[in-house]
Amino acid sequence: MPAIAAEDAKRFFTLFNIVSATIIIVGIVITILRFTKGLGAVTHLSDDNPWGLWIGFDLLVGVALAAGGYVTSAAVYLFGMKKYHSAVRPAVLTGFLGYALVVLALNYDVGRPWRLPYPFIMQQGTTSVLFEVGACVALYLTVLFLEFVPAPLEWLGLKRVRQLVVKLTLALTVLGVLLSTLHQSSLGALFLLAPSKLHPLWYSPYLPVFFFVSSIVAGLSMVIFESTLSHRYFGHKMDATHLSEKESVTLGFGKAASLVLAGYFIIKIMGLAAGNNWHFLGTAYGYWFLLEVAGFIALPSFLYAVGVRNKDLALIKWTAAWTVIGIILNRLTVSLIAFNWQLPSPRRYFPHLMEIAISIFIVTLGIVVFRFIVTRMPILYEHPAYKDAK
């Protein structure tokens, strides 16, 4: 008995478990502080900077990186690219967890979680872009849940309910693309209201288009990135289909990402031309803009192309990680770095340590839940009883 208990303890007290448990405990403590003492106790938010890291990272980055769900579903079910089928469930799971955590993070910012349904039942702010974002995110989270639910239903052996939900796949995919187009672009549209606050190099009437196109890039890159990590840490869970389709998913998504990044690069330059903002390029913000456009848009577009041409999977995987960093950089720049750019330094915003801790806590929650689901449910393999698994 003691030998078995020692064995169990060794399996439980891994480095990952210890670190993630610590992060979660700290996160819970800060959560209690936030909801008992208010925003001022845990954030550096102010009247000048009402939106901080929780909006800039947890919401904007979170929604962009969760875009893999609609991109992959559209590729497989709308464009008929069946060879990417094995990527659908992991992408939908990443999307579902991503959006769920976005809603969790939103509660930290708005502060009264029981009022979250108010825009639907009490007062609709139909003149507000944020109302449309909220409505779309709520609906899309439901869509993602329904797209994800066949996996736990298979795990639980609920055959009839599973059959019913699977029939909805095509409708859900269409709805998912529709809703994603709306809210991904609308998150960019939020900043249209503040032309004097957002630096001219990032402010553009085309902000909604920039956000939408970059969300496609983010989705494609996150699928490659998540697939790489899943193969590394959960490869033993994968069936032959997943293992054999891995190369075509990486190459196919890499090719698509290369093209979309090239298109994104072009429209960013067009945005610069439309605003006639060339003279800002010689400033400090200009160098940051050039770093973003050259280093995190043009360069990954080229590296993806080289990787696809030479079938260099390692290069594609590293480029995917680099692109994800680029998306994070873009969202943080638009919401935090280039926002309020004209304010004097004492009034500028930098996140409180506890804001950073909550963001890390939310990401850790996502990884822990992802690991729980992927190690138990048919995400990386087809359940033997449902070989037609969609």
């Binding site: 093209l259 090239a262 192309a305």
Partner: protein, 42 residues
């Protein structure tokens, strides 16, 4: 090197002109890029 525009029409004439030149260059560039990307496809 910031040019001062006195009318909205002048501003748009300039920016549209630059945009048209850039987009033609971009379209030609995309053709070459597509060729590069698909170059070694079977």
């Amino acid at each position: 090197m910031e040019t001062i525009f006195f009318t909205y029409q002048d501003f748009y004439t300039h920016t549209k002109g630059v945009s048209y030149v850039l987009i033609v260059a971009a379209l030609v560039g995309m053709a070459f890029f597509w060729s590069f990307l698909s170059g070694k496809d079977d």
